[in-house]
């Protein structure tokens, strides 16, 4: 197909999708056309500029004009969701393209788009290794996700990493002041790491930086910034990292960081196999991914197209480094490869008011000093639309305004006809007093709120916590034992008395040591069983007592049937408990089902226990000795793991599109990336600037780390670091406000509490308000409203 024919059909396709012709927009054509001398094309694309659409058309140009075989094209994205969206978009465009081409009597062959290699960089690395590396295939490795990674580290850290071994490498690192200052989360006070999950998070982050930043930037050199009085960080870290990699290899698993490192070693196997690699969201690339993408260029026949916007680089906390994006031209020059830069600066998403406001914000923020030069403009035909609003009031007042407006827009309107809306906040944890809690309280019950980062799944009274309480009762029922002569009694459970009760309540392992993980689960059992916090454990609500009676009967039956005669498994019992009257009325509601998605959660977190020869999917069996129930070790381990997870980790609801529909999304700035809504409410200005992600990046890149402790906070005097840290915060807010299509409302909480600290106004917005806002005094009890219009 000729280039002219391609544009003839593509213009018709985009018109069918309600978009402007490609051929009328020179800046778009420059991005779509793959020119003979193209080697690296960097597309700098502002918000709403249609970068995904442009990327899709550049792929189609390869397929239809250059007749490139689809399996020679690679498209990488940042998330599985984005990969799936690109797959859908390509399928949609190709289908219409073929249909319209045939209507115009143009011959097009099936481009076999299912052979396109589309995915996250991790999934593609695995796919390539499986396809091209016999060694990898023979190893039979499987890629583990973040949950399994955390669980393995949490439950094996002591064993594998030496916190309880003679070398104690992890413990020594935990005692390094420099690392504690850089890695301790700001909300953690006192001793840190305090438990296995703190330790797991710490180790996960360290290993991530080691693989993704240190290895590509320092190779096997030293970490200069880590020189400490005893000069031990380098050696401990390197030893620890190696030990962890050996452990994973021995278990035939590999983590996300590791799969990239493995692929980097084998990348040359793909020489001659690929024609063009497309990278979306390139601004969020980390150093190892950057090296990997530059690695494509070693093959002279491979082209690279990257799309992104460094104004929207918001993943430094995960190890991304937007300097990879900014320095690409220099890197290409060093490699002697051709480079072309194109810009997409027309925002087709937002109204003129919103664009002018967001650009006003950008100008007043730190972003321009830390990013590539660019402008974002409206199409000539765009209208100003509704004014941007800034609402100031207490969080409760602001939440009521939002809920009233959503009700007015949505109630009585068919799902498909409703304008889209979302509330965006830096943090959407729904702890009482937090902004997200206020929004849900004001909206429900008539407006459902969808907040997968609510972190309420394991809190007291949640169905998941109740379920653990029931399982704890099954395995380790707390009883009352008399004490003394005055009728007093105490609660007794398996671990309660280490020396007497414990030894009788469950079989010890072969070496005679206790097999318990912990007794964290007892707290959940108490929550479930006690009518009030001060009540006796035997004083239970009748509806809950029915469940407990049922559990008693099940336990008795299992015992009566005897070993080898039962078939009921733990998962089977859980299904029955959820069908039970206590859970059913509240249970089979959306709330429970969202929480009951824990089946996935459970799978992830109990995985390490699968190394046992007694998996949890074998039939339940119980024995009895002197009135104590005897369970096999795997059940104690299960209780320990499950309870530790629920007690120590703020658990997100599993993201499920099923419950998103018809609900008001209450999502984080980061979650909003790539989305757009007609109406956007943004709560506050985000977190205070945090220099630590910048410093961590410097540390693992081999630079000296200039920090000092300012009270509890880690700080620095380096102007460059301070600028980058402030720009990170500004970029997050810039991403949030640029999601709005028709109306943008900024909510600024005037409550002065620790819980509303993220809901305060950003200084750049405050200065816009002060310079050009029109104050509209609020009615009694209502927030003050600033309307900012650029007409």
């Amino acid at each position: 197909m000729t280039q002219a024919e391609f544009y003839q059909v593509s213009d018709a396709v985009v018109a069918a999708n309600g978009r402007g012709k490609l051929s009328d927009r020179p800046e778009v054509k420059a991005c779509v056309e793959v020119r003979p001398d193209d080697c690296v094309l960097q597309i700098l694309a502002g918000p709403g500029s249609g970068k995904t659409e442009v990327l899709v058309w550049r792929v189609l140009f390869e397929l239809f004009v250059l007749n490139t075989r689809s399996e020679r094209l690679v498209v990488t994205t940042f998330t599985k969701k984005a990969a799936s969206e690109i797959q859908v978009r390509i399928a949609d465009r190709v289908e219409t393209f073929i249909e319209l081409a045939r209507q115009s009597n143009l011959q097009v062959a099936d481009p076999l788009i299912h052979n396109l290699r589309i995915g996250t960089i991790h999934s593609l690395c695995e796919q390539f290794l499986t396809e091209f590396s016999p060694q990898y295939r023979e190893q039979g490795l499987s890629l583990m996700d973040e949950h399994e990674h955390r669980a393995r580290l949490g439950f094996l850290a002591g064993l594998v990493l030496g916190s309880n071994r003679s070398s104690q490498a992890l413990t020594r690192l935990e005692n390094e002041t420099l690392l504690v200052r850089l890695f301790r989360p700001h909300w953690k006070r006192g001793d840190w790491p305090a438990n296995r999950f703190d330790r797991a998070e710490f180790a996960m982050e360290l290993f991530g930086h080691m693989t993704e930043t240190y290895l590509p930037r320092c190779g096997n050199g030293t970490l200069h910034g880590m020189a400490s009085p005893n000069n031990s960080i380098d050696s401990n870290l390197i030893e620890l990292h190696q030990r962890w990699r050996d452990h994973l290899e021995s278990k035939n698993v590999v983590d996300f960081a590791g799969i990239q490192a493995m692929f980097l070693q084998s990348q040359s196997l793909l020489n001659g196999k690929l024609t063009h690699v497309f990278v979306d969201e390139f601004q969020d690339t980390n150093p190892i991914q950057h090296l990997l993408h530059l690695g494509w260029l070693i093959d002279a026949g491979t082209k690279l197209t990257v799309v992104g916007d460094d104004d929207q680089a918001i993943y430094r906390f995960r190890g991304s480094d937007s300097s990879c994006f900014r320095n690409l031209q220099t890197d290409c020059s060093s490699l002697g490869r051709g480079f072309r830069l194109e810009k997409l600066e027309v925002n087709h998403r937002s109204s003129k008011n919103i664009i002018e406001f967001s650009q006003g914000f950008r100008t007043g923020s730190s972003i321009p000093q830390a990013s590539l030069a660019k402008t974002v403009i409206s199409p000539q035909s765009a209208s100003y639309g509704l004014p941007v609003r800034v609402l100031r009031g207490t969080m409760g007042q602001l939440a009521r305004v939002v809920s009233d407006e959503i009700r007015a827009m949505w109630l009585g309107v068919e799902l498909g006809d409703r304008p889209s809306a979302a509330v965006l906040s830096f943090s959407t944890t729904e702890k009482v007093g937090r902004p997200a809690h206020a929004i849900r309280a004001a909206c429900e019950p008539d407006i459902q709120v969808y907040n997968p980062r609510a972190k309420t799944a394991a809190t007291k009274g949640s169905a998941l916590a109740d379920l653990l309480g029931v399982l704890s009762y099954l395995i380790d029922p707390v009883s009352l034992a008399p004490v003394g002569k005055n009728g007093r009694s105490v609660m007794v459970w398996a671990l309660h008395d280490q020396h007497s009760v414990h030894a009788r309540s469950a079989p010890p392992s072969k070496d005679g040591k206790p097999i318990y993980e912990n007794d964290d689960h007892i707290e959940f059992q108490k929550w479930f069983r006690k009518r009030t916090s001060s009540a006796l454990i035997t004083d239970t609500e009748p509806s809950k007592q029915d469940v407990l009676d049922y559990i008693d009967q099940i336990r008795d039956r299992l015992y009566a049937e005897g070993r080898g005669n039962t078939r009921l498994t733990l998962a089977g019992l859980i299904a029955r408990v959820l069908a039970f009257p206590y859970f059913q009325p509240s249970g089979f509601t959306i709330q429970l089902l969202r929480q009951a998605l824990f089946t996935q959660l459970l799978e992830d977190f109990i995985l390490p226990t699968r190394q046992t020869m007694n998996p949890l999917d074998s039939p339940l069996e119980v024995d009895k000795l002197s009135n104590k129930w005897l369970w096999a070790p795997q059940y104690w381990r299960f209780l320990g793991v499950f309870a530790s997870v629920l007690k120590n980790l703020p658990i997100d609801d599993t993201e499920s599109e099923a419950f998103e529909e018809g609900a008001l999304p209450l999502i984080t700035f980061h979650q909003s990336k790539g989305l757009e809504f007609d109406h956007v409410y943004v709560i506050g200005g985000g977190k205070p600037a945090d220099v630590r992600p910048v410093l961590k990046n410097m540390l693992f890149s081999g630079h000296q780390v200039p920090l000092f402790l300012d009270g509890d906070l880690t700080s620095t005097n380096e102007a460059g670091v301070l600028l980058e840290a402030q720009a990170d915060v500004d970029r997050e807010l810039y991403v949030a406000i640029s999601r709005a299509k028709k109306q943008l409302t900024l909510l600024s909480a005037t409550d002065d509490t620790d819980e509303t600290r993220f809901a305060k106004e950003h200084s750049a917005i405050e200065s816009i308000v002060n310079s050009m806002g029109t104050l509209q005094p609020g009615a009694a009890g209502n927030p003050e409203v600033w309307e900012l219009s650029y007409e």
């Binding site: 073929i98 009921l568 069908a579 099923a658």
Partner: protein, 337 residues
């Protein structure tokens, strides 16, 4: 909100037709206890067929039964490690069963050999997008159907099919498999789908319509209309019933596609209903109703219901059992999972 309704043919449309309740709990709420057990054998068969085709392409001969067994054992271990479990009692029995179907009496089954020799594509992925009326699909503007054609083949030497699909009511898309023979000519283009069930089961019509829809999507993608579709019931013995030939014409594939869109519409309705009130979604096949009991649970589905974690409060299943205190739904029965 995502404007596209993405549905997989087997994972969504067929599963939903079999039991909307089980589909919704599995797909929308994450309760999927028994599906993975079934998936292992299917994955083994599909993986092995793909391996057989690759092997033949490279060497122009079929692997020995010993090689096939070795492959199956390695494949089984990989799938097991990835969390796919077997419904049968042991690895040995599962492998024996699959091997027995592909290599009865230690020799490659003639049907399998013919398919492998004529194969031009295995696991041909189809993905098609249709515009839909948002009002009919609760706000969704596009429907994306995904499916995988197990095999695209050109007959090498001609072939005689013993069973053929015949339409009794084309308007209602009703028909059934008959013993009428059908002769395939050399070079005939066919699309095949493997099924792990026995021939002539209650879902045969669904499978026929699925495959006809695939043929339509294949034509759309390649511009070529296959001569016929073929269902390969891999668990049938080699007496000739294992293959069902389905003749194709433009009219029937267009009607099958429209039927598929209607199934997607019903599925979307269930999804919305589930989000509003999960317990209101009823169980049982969308088409089958037992005249005697009024239960929508057909005999094949009933076997799955007995392993379904949601059966304890499924009124349709309890009705099909005939009494509410049946051991299968007795909450205290520890002799069953």
């Amino acid at each position: 909100m995502n404007e596209i309704l993405a549905v997989s043919y087997t994972g969504d449309l067929l599963a939903h037709r079999r039991c909307p309740r089980a589909w919704a709990y599995s797909k929308l709420a994450g309760f999927h206890p028994y599906e993975q057990a079934q998936a292992l054998e299917g994955s083994l068969i599909h993986g092995t067929m793909e391996w057989l085709v690759d092997h033949y392409r490279v060497r122009q001969l079929h692997p020995s039964v010993a090689d096939a067994q070795q492959y199956l054992e390695a494949r089984f271990s990989i799938l097991w490690a990835r969390g796919l479990k077997t419904a049968f009692s042991s690895k040995k029995k599962t492998i024996e069963r699959v091997l027995g179907n592909l290599y009865p009496n230690n020799v490659i089954r003639p049907t399998v050999a013919a398919a492998v020799e004529g194969a031009s594509h295995t696991e041909y992925e189809l993905r098609a997008v249709r515009k839909i009326v948002p009002g009919d699909f609760q706000g969704k503007e596009k429907l994306m159907i995904t499916g995988i054609l197990d095999l695209v083949l050109h007959q090498r030497d001609g072939f005689q099919f013993n069973r053929t699909w015949e339409w009794s009511d084309l308007l209602q898309l009703k028909g059934n498999g008959t013993n009428a023979p059908l002769s395939a000519m050399a070079n005939d283009l066919e699309v095949w789908d493997y099924k792990g069930t026995k021939a002539d089961g209650p879902y045969e019509r669904d499978y026929v319509l699925q495959l006809l829809t695939y043929a339509r999507l294949y034509q759309e993608r390649t511009g070529i209309l296959p001569i016929r579709c073929v269902l390969f019931y891999i668990n049938e013995d080699g007496s000739g019933d294992e293959l069902l030939a389905i003749p194709i014409d433009q009219q029937v594939i267009a009607a099958a596609e429209e039927w598929t869109v209607q199934q997607a519409k019903a599925l979307r309705k269930t999804a919305i209903q589930f989000q509003i009130d999960p317990s209101s979604v009823t169980g049982g096949s969308l088409e089958y109703v037992d005249p005697a009991t009024g239960s929508p649970i057909d005999p094949v589905l009933k076997k799955q219901c007995t392993a379904c974690a949601q059966r304890f409060n499924c009124s349709e299943y309890i009705t099909s059992l005939g009494r509410p205190d049946h051991p299968d739904v007795d909450l205290l029965n520890v002799g069953k999972n």
